[in-house]
Symmetry: D2
Subunit: 506 residues, 4 copies
């Protein structure tokens, strides 16, 4: 954490969120989940794979009088983006993967078979990119589309995602694509190389290539994950994790690598991040995970212009149809909108203000423009397998807008015992496809536990001693009290209310 933290909490933590493949957005469960996320969190952009893959049906070759033609079809593209905009979220476009009718080979990635080979015709690829971007500008307007970053492909440094992980071939793809995008309109934003961790050298070579050829580039992007190798069991995986600080280090890498070069001032987007990169690691479902991510959300904005949680929902099919309600999916929400602890971490962040009043290893205190003070605190996590920490304490002295009087504190918490639907689901016997009544119980178990108190203000500050449960993340909302108690207080006496003794009267 920098010595002298910036005084503003930027939107980097909610600039973007990840999603399963593009056409999953046609689903009702997906859209209801996104609506909930937007109501309580409010991301700005959404990014996923598969815009140009066969399931979306954009690239449609046909024969007429013996000649090959291609029709570009936007039936689903428009349905999805219309829905996004209705929900107050805009695309972060990822151009990929390859339509099978344009692919040079048959290699695919994922259960849903995204083709990862280069185009067999660069001209037809450019026509596809041009038609797509032009269509979006026509339909949604240039003012709108120029705010949508356009990223070229996904993780080309991995053989799974790009044939032979051939960097030169990627550079050609970038050149053709970026030039085509800019040809539609020079104000559109294009970037790359969207690399996964473990190939940091790619970015340096990519920067050199772009600079040498004076190619258009408006941002650079990479991903960040902290899990070790996967030990598979059926429908699941065991992995180790590096500590959360390792995520922040990865966020910081692009600026460090580009410092002093021609791309030094470009925005840096971490277009995917999570602990584990596996969609079947139960860590994603746990209270541990929220506490693990809390310091990352609190500090990540110092290091990158955005970091996009991979992904907002378990409506996701890279490893096939999920076999159980909880299955270690990336989602902040399960199918049918059960909130995981990490969901609440994001919802808590959404109640923070823009001005940072204090920040530490286990807390962040902010104030919004209306003067409301909010604090987030979290318990430390141990990735070494040591005994979990119970009863971690945080001591805060919170400045408020009144010099004296009282403040109202509303505290919302998730932890191993609170707001932890995964634990309730385990206790229920891990039902693969819970019944309606079980889903209701899980929804109730998933709610944060709320507490409230009235606290004295002294010298314009409220003193708070917070004790945190195991893996607790807690939101503290503090508001100075405007006392509207009636002027006939001498006639009214709470102590005469049955059940309220002297001490208990509020």
């Amino acid at each position: 954490m920098p010595d002298d933290p910036p005084s503003r909490l930027t939107d980097a933590w909610r600039f973007c969120v990840g999603t399963g493949r593009f056409d999953l957005a046609l689903r009702r469960d997906y859209q209801e989940s996104l609506a909930l996320v937007q109501r309580e969190i409010g991301f700005r952009h959404i990014r996923g794979h598969g815009l140009l893959s066969d399931g979306v049906g954009v690239h449609r070759p046909y024969e007429l009088r013996g000649t090959r033609h291609v029709r570009h079809v936007f039936t689903y593209v428009d349905q999805v983006i219309d829905a996004y905009l209705d929900l107050g979220i805009a695309p972060f476009l990822e151009l990929g993967f390859m339509p099978s009718g344009l692919a040079s080979g048959g290699q695919t990635v994922f259960w849903w078979q995204g083709n990862v080979t280069p185009p067999r015709s660069w001209q037809e690829w450019a026509a596809l990119v041009r038609a797509t971007v032009t269509h979006l500008v026509d339909r949604y307007g240039l003012d709108q589309v120029r705010t949508w970053p356009i990223e070229v492909w996904n993780e080309p440094n991995l053989k799974e995602f790009w044939l032979d992980a051939d960097q030169d071939a990627y550079h050609r793809l970038y050149e053709v694509t970026a030039n085509t995008v800019k040809d539609v309109d020079a104000s559109l934003q294009v970037g790359g190389p969207a690399i996964s961790p473990g190939s940091d050298e790619w970015l340096v070579r990519f920067a050199d290539f772009v600079a040498e050829r004076s190619l258009p580039i408006d941002f650079v992007s990479r991903h960040a994950y902290t899990s070790g190798p996967a030990q598979h069991v059926p429908f699941g995986v065991h992995q180790t994790l590096a500590p959360p600080s390792r995520l922040l280090e990865q966020f910081a890498t692009p600026r460090r690598q580009l410092r002093g070069g021609p791309l030094a001032d470009l925005p840096v987007h971490i277009t995917e991040f999570n602990s584990s990169y596996r969609p079947d690691n139960p860590i994603h479902d746990t209270a541990f995970h929220a506490a693990y991510l809390a310091p990352v959300l609190a500090a990540g904005g110092d290091l990158a212009d955005s970091f996009s949680y991979w992904t907002f929902s378990d409506v996701f099919e890279e490893a096939g149809v999920p076999a159980s309600l909880f299955h270690g999916g990336f989602g902040l929400l399960t199918h049918r909108q059960i909130k995981k602890p990490a969901y609440h971490l994001y919802a808590f962040m959404a109640r923070m203000g823009e001005e940072i009043l204090a920040r530490g290893q286990d807390h962040l205190v902010t104030r919004d423009d209306a003067g409301r003070v909010t604090a987030l605190a979290w318990a430390p996590v141990d990735v070494t397998g040591g005994p979990p920490v119970d009863g971690h304490t945080v001591r805060l002295s919170i400045p408020v807008s009144s010099p004296s009087g009282r403040a109202f504190l509303l505290r919302s918490s998730v932890s191993e015992e609170k707001g932890n639907a995964w634990r309730a689901w385990c206790e229920m016997g891990r039902p693969a496809s819970p019944r309606s009544r079980q889903l209701d119980a899980l929804r109730e178990a998933a709610e944060p536990v709320r507490g409230h108190r009235s606290l004295p203000i002294e010298d314009g500050r409220v003193a708070l001693d917070i004790t945190l449960d195991r893996h607790e993340v807690t939101l503290l909302e503090i508001t100075p009290v405007v006392d509207e108690t009636s002027p006939w207080g001498d006639r009214w006496d709470d102590r005469r209310l049955l059940g309220l003794d002297e001490e208990a009267a509020p």
Copy 2:
């Protein structure tokens, strides 16, 4: 409590609920509150005053060619009853008060000025009753309307509600009205005398009168309240309360009084009950109140065919427009749907089964047709002003449908500290008309606190030792676990999940 309790929990507790005057049902806040109540509680009938009062506009005299005529107008009657039926609730009709165009005098009750004098023409009154009942049968069908009890007037034993509390005049009103109703259709249900506590002798005289004249009667009704005299302060009142058993005694009175007489077998409806009869007594807003009512809801069905909580919502104007969000109103819900502890008591009751497995001074255990076991437990209340009881314990041994294995327990609680929005509101400084953000905080503070555990089943039973907070009412939902944990458990190990040590693994 009877030695040998009946084995079924009847619908008496939810057969009916009270409401503010008829035309308040046109309001959006009212209908949204009722929709919520119906979703989570599900009352069968709803009863309030004012169907025939001026605000509903039914009785409309006019002159034509020098002669007086009366038009009967059902614009609002239909809007309200249409809305009720859409929400799955049916009227419990109360015929009253007197339209000013038909009244023999000017005496009114309440801020909204219901006229409480006899009709100046019995013929015109009978025509009004006939037109109203006939219209309802025409619009909603006889099959529907014959399930709606029709009660003649309200609390005629009080001077405030019936001129001079003249019982003979009431008997005449009953005779004319009951005969008219039966004249529309003999299968309609009519009853009375809807008396308030304190005039028990009225029922005996009324029964004699009805029997002597062989008048139609399908049910008898009375009210039950337990508060002492009011000591007023501006916008509020202090009152003592009798213990909750006093409510049960009042419920039992009609059957006792009528035993052996010709009306002995009639259904008994307690058409209003509450602790205090004042709409400005803050006791209604408290956790104490839920604990006070719990034994009444658990046992009342043994003593009467229904007992109707007065009232479901604070949308209520007998003492004028409420001056503050919390103001001691009768409602289970405040304006804008903040749930009071008593709301949750009713919502907990709505999750109980029909078969009573056990019942005691502080608990009720039931099972539903699907075999789900539910227990309600409550802390004792002290109406003498003694120190409140903290940490009351309840020990239960709950039979479940499996002989062994484990059961999932979901516990939901309200108490002084949990799910108590009134206390949060006091801590906030008692804002008369809270802002949107404050309403959100109150809604969050109003939710029951949930906990869950996995418990061993031994010999087909689950042992529960419950400790109750001050004024706690708690719902325990117990479901035997069908374990779907995967057969590759030897490859999967929760203990390898970070943050879950041996003991903490679910």
Copy 3:
């Protein structure tokens, strides 16, 4: 109509709309109606009576220790204004009538008994105004409230609305009120005198008074109606009407009267207008009425800064509870949201553009910023009782954005035979309180009839010869066609589709 019409269609026609008394806005039917109106029309402000009358419960005197105090209660004020803002409409505040606890006499207006006497204490009145305005600024923010015009009282020139129609007393009321409003914040907008037609001299005297005393004033207001004296029958009224041009003349009066004086440049708000001022004149329900109002909406914005249709909904009780679904109420919508022809006139206006391309006695042609061209045309009405005009023709030459090709025309019409629910209701036997199925049929009968055609563009214009039915108002939406017919048209042939002969192929 001016010789040289302005080229912009201002928002004057939708700057404000009238409503029944303030507390009716608590109703569900009211709010659903307003939601519909806002979705399809989109007014900016809403103005009605009764903010300070007893039903809203703002002014609440009480005694404490023998002294009179007044509490100001905003429970309902906040519920209503919260709802307005949620629906995208803001108040046009009218300060009145007198709370009974502050009134100097007992005279009331309307079935709902608004007290129309001066305050018995000017100081307590000023305190009431100050508390109300201050509360609104606190809750909604000054930026918001300063956009809400604040009008002092209603039609003080009529004895029904202001004791003895005493202009000097009104001047005092204005002075105290305007000064108090400005004392809360000088940027708030205050105005008057909200006079009815027939007392034009009031405005001159009022202007002199304000100028002499240098009182604050931000706008002047008056009303406009065109009906003759009422001949009453039970639950209805017969009246003659002046031609629609008489409404425009009234709109023009204030600017004419104030020309050259110190108030000459103030905004002029016609804070009420309609044909008949009676809420029981069936003319409001007819197709005639839409055709009558059409030229007023098309031209009124040249003459005043706003003209507010009195009222958007039949949820209205000045003459008591409406006795029948259609009853001659002012509403654009009946109870339960049946659309009257005048509703559609407003909905058609809401689809017009801002740029006026042409305007005449029977038409208005506009273009919006996106280049879409829209025309409104209407049949002439005869207020003398002469035979109605059938088959009026309008010939238009509409400029579009393409020089050639084709344009798509969508035409929507209401007339005696089309989209006229009142006529269907009459044919149904005028059911006072229609059943659900009848309401469905009325809703279907209330929809405009739609037609569409493809028209040739010649020299950048589309020629339209429109024939209008009796009392027809028609909206023509014209869009140049971008032909996406597929390039394999030689292989596809619509004429081979069954049922489509040469001529019928689209």
Copy 4:
């Protein structure tokens, strides 16, 4: 048509409707379309392909300790069926196609690649069927599931749908499957063989096989289509059609074929029917199509127990992602819920009564239990390409429940010119993916045109002379008028309403 038609209109026309593949039901557009269909039409069951195909993810082989296991996963099955039941529709289960992990070969059908080869293990197939049916019974209850017909495979008589169209192999599939279903519970309904037109001999052989082996069978099923061979163009097809009577003949075939044999009394379900079997034939979008289907819906119930329109929505992907809003899809609704004329035919049918009063070549007259009389009339269609018929007349004499007085007629029509969104879309230039405003215009253009009149009743009948536009289908709803016109009619006079002359007064 039979000489002596049955007097009841059965539910056969709405017993079932077709749908695109099972997992499309997860989509929001699909569910919103189905919700609309259920609100206005109300089908009982829904049938489509693909329950067991890979996209639903039921059959999930995995290895554990070197052994193959299969997990059965119902994540999506439950989401879809939960949604169906919420929408008031139940599955008509079709067991197929083959999971790729169980398939004996690689042959697939459709763009979405349903595998059509027999199982490589009959035991694993039986386990899959058993697990699926058992799961459904567990989750939804036997009372529910026994009302869901279970059909074995789809069109096994076609090589495209079943390897080599091998009837013996199908018989084995039927035997294993039917026995397994009955093994779960004997009360479940199982049937087949779901053959397409053109292989009528299959049913005879199938019946013999089933009877010989005494196999369980609860219903027989087949399909009906009337189109000739396809002449393809890009993204479309031209076909001839047989007249609608040919559909009725196909409906009648199974009963005729089975007459006298052991399966003679079984229910016959036409589990698919339409004119063309191609999802890219624009005939489905036309007004012609509604008129073509009208006599089939009116008479089909005499010949079969159900006939299921293929399909309710254009959300359908057998030929790939639809390339344009209108594309000749089967749907009653397009994507985004534009209603086609055939939709309205079904919605009109949903307003018919159960008692048939009259029936002819161009009309059907019914009465419902409440005495409401409804008539459907349709223009004749010509499938030979002859000139379309304009102005076809139908003369009806409709019995109503009153001997005299007047009746209210509401008429709703679709035809070439009315309620025909496809024509409007053509006039718009056939936009592949219309903008929001264009969709609004299409929705308006898609509404039936409504008219209404008051008609005299003479001798208990209403005489109607109806003239039909080209390809018109019209619904006539006739209700006797209960006249509530006020008794002061001599004081009120409609003729004094402006614009209403003697003749025009309603």
